[in-house]
């Protein structure tokens, strides 16, 4: 799979279609994000699999936004999986990236990763390399939903109390792009107070994930306290699906119901 990705990226760089390719590199014994600007660098390209499949994924879309803001006229390539593709589509609808300036190079996730992520679509819409895995079985939300209300409440409170307020969930999130963050608003979340007030802190973030979360799971991977954030945001996503028939980033060009206020579509 990696060779066809290298060939594709080399072609994009050689023809000048893209100024650079934001992917992953294996360097100094570690896997990390890298902007490939020359074909010969591709020898060290990585797809983010270190010990197990997909254990070294990074929010490349987030870094792409930083680069694109500084160089809005240039076109960049980016390595995407299914979740990153959903992220890209959502970011386009929120005008955070210009689809004309992004060339996505898509890879699929293996079944073991799709299952671990309980991913609904473990492949991007346009696939450069790889075979499509089946959607992962949805278990985590159902397991928590099966608890009676008081137990469910205790479950979440016991998880939230572990928070060390590192803001990692928000810092790593490819969909956290607001200039003003509610989690840093003193009226909602008192600065300097540790642990943060629960469940307000986590609910504030969960509310802001409505119609935004693309279920990449990077927040949960970044959480030093192991709070099952992905389960929380999966629940948020399932409510959006039930009530609005909306799944973030799944349908190209489809805007979130919360992103339609000013549009003709929203006024209807």
């Amino acid at each position: 799979m990696i060779d066809s990705i290298k060939d594709k990226v080399k072609e994009l760089l050689d023809t000048g279609e893209i100024k650079g390719f934001l992917g992953l590199v294996r360097k100094n014994g570690h896997i990390g994000p890298h902007l490939f600007q020359k074909g010969d660098e591709l020898v060290d390209l990585s797809l983010g699999d270190n010990k197990i499949a997909g254990d070294s994924r990074y929010p490349l879309n987030k870094y792409l936004m930083n680069i694109a803001k500084a160089y809005p006229e240039e076109t960049f390539g980016v390595l995407i999986r299914g979740c990153d593709d959903r992220g890209l589509q959502a970011l386009y609808t929120w005008n955070q990236l210009n689809p004309k300036k992004v060339v996505a190079v898509g890879i699929t996730c293996p079944q073991e990763l799709a299952d671990a992520c309980e991913c609904l679509k473990p492949f991007p819409e346009d696939i450069t390399a790889g075979e499509c895995a089946k959607a992962g079985e949805q278990k985590s939300v159902a397991a928590v939903d099966a608890l009676v209300l008081s137990e469910r409440f205790s479950y979440w409170m016991d998880e939230f109390v572990k928070c060390i307020k590192c803001y990692g969930c928000s810092n790593v999130c490819p969909m956290c792009f607001c200039n003003e963050c509610s989690l840093k608003c003193d009226d909602l979340v008192k600065s300097g107070e540790l642990p943060p007030e629960i469940p307000v802190f986590h609910h504030t973030r969960a509310m802001h994930m409505v119609g935004r979360c693309v279920d990449c799971g990077l927040c949960e991977e970044a959480c030093p306290s192991g709070i099952p954030l992905r389960t929380l945001y999966k629940k948020v996503g399932s409510i959006m699906e039930d009530k609005f028939d909306f799944k973030t980033g799944m349908i190209r060009g489809q805007r979130s119901p919360l992103n339609k206020i000013d549009s003709a579509e929203g006024k209807k």
Partner: protein, 135 residues
């Protein structure tokens, strides 16, 4: 255009978390915790997550300061080192080596800490060496 991710170690405490500094055209714009680091496995505390912010901070000290006539003034490294060496010698001669103590830091490398304790013990002849992580 120059976009780099530079692997480095957090300077805030002695844990040694690894991250990439996201550097765009020579300016550090972000911190990316390293997922393959056995120390922090892609996680960071709030200080680590914001470590890129102090690099370009205006308040950051870049030159030594020496108090002259009650006010801190920027001086050259030579002047600062000459002054410190002269005062340390003077204090040692007048009050003995144990009148001097050295506090070192978790924010520097193991090797720098080694040098400071060596200087304290072999240079100044005191065992008064301690470390901010023990405070």
């Amino acid at each position: 255009m120059d976009y780099r991710t530079v692997l480095t170690t957090c300077t805030y405490c002695g844990c040694g978390c690894n991250f990439f500094l996201e550097v765009l055209d020579g300016k550090a714009i972000g911190t990316i915790p390293c997922k393959t680091s056995p120390v922090n496995e892609g996680k960071l505390c709030i200080k680590g997550w914001n470590v890129h912010e102090f690099i370009h901070n205006e308040k950051r000290l870049k030159r030594p300061l020496l108090r002259k006539n009650g006010r801190l003034e920027e001086v050259s490294w030579d002047e600062a080192l000459d002054y410190t060496a002269a005062r340390l010698k003077e204090i040692k001669e007048k009050s003995g080596p144990d009148s001097i103590g050295f506090l070192t830091s978790a924010k520097v490398t193991n090797e720098e800490n080694y040098i400071l304790q060596k200087f304290a013990r072999a240079g100044v002849n005191t065992n008064n060496v301690d470390h901010c992580a023990r405070l």
